[in-house]
Symmetry: C2
Subunit: 83 residues, 2 copies
């Protein structure tokens, strides 16, 4: 389960599902990814559910994927290691 | 834009989109709703994006809506007033 390209409303996006033991840990991860998003001013969609977070990156301006999205996907993975 | 019944994967759910001025405020709301979810042990899906949070309540056991979901939807609205 790695990053997967998905097309939504005609826009190419990069998506990955991260699994956790409960809701609390999932929400903590959402906050860590939210923090790096705020840091660079580039924001993903973060779907927080019990035991999992679905992170989706894309560039609104580019209406698709941009180099930044791949960089942020890699940084998102790093937040998992920080667990 | 109030709570709307939606059917996803054959499961009836209660959904509402909350608008905010930026990502930070959206994430703060996600955390407030997450806190009440943890409090009662009933968890929604929280989609956090720039300027908005989509909250979806349903009962996994009931595979649909239960009295608790309506109670939690009302409590979710209260978190907005606490803004």
């Amino acid at each position: 389960p790695d990053w997967t390209p998905v097309t939504r409303d005609g826009i190419l996006q990069l998506e990955r599902v991260f699994k956790f033991r409960n809701f609390k840990q999932a929400l903590a991860f959402t906050n860590r990814v939210g923090a790096i998003a705020e840091e660079v001013g580039h924001h993903p969609a973060l779907l927080t559910e019990w035991g999992r977070v679905t992170v989706t990156w894309w560039s609104h301006e580019a209406k698709g994927l941009h180099k930044n999205d791949f960089i942020m996907a890699a940084r998102t993975d790093q937040q998992l290691e920080a667990e």
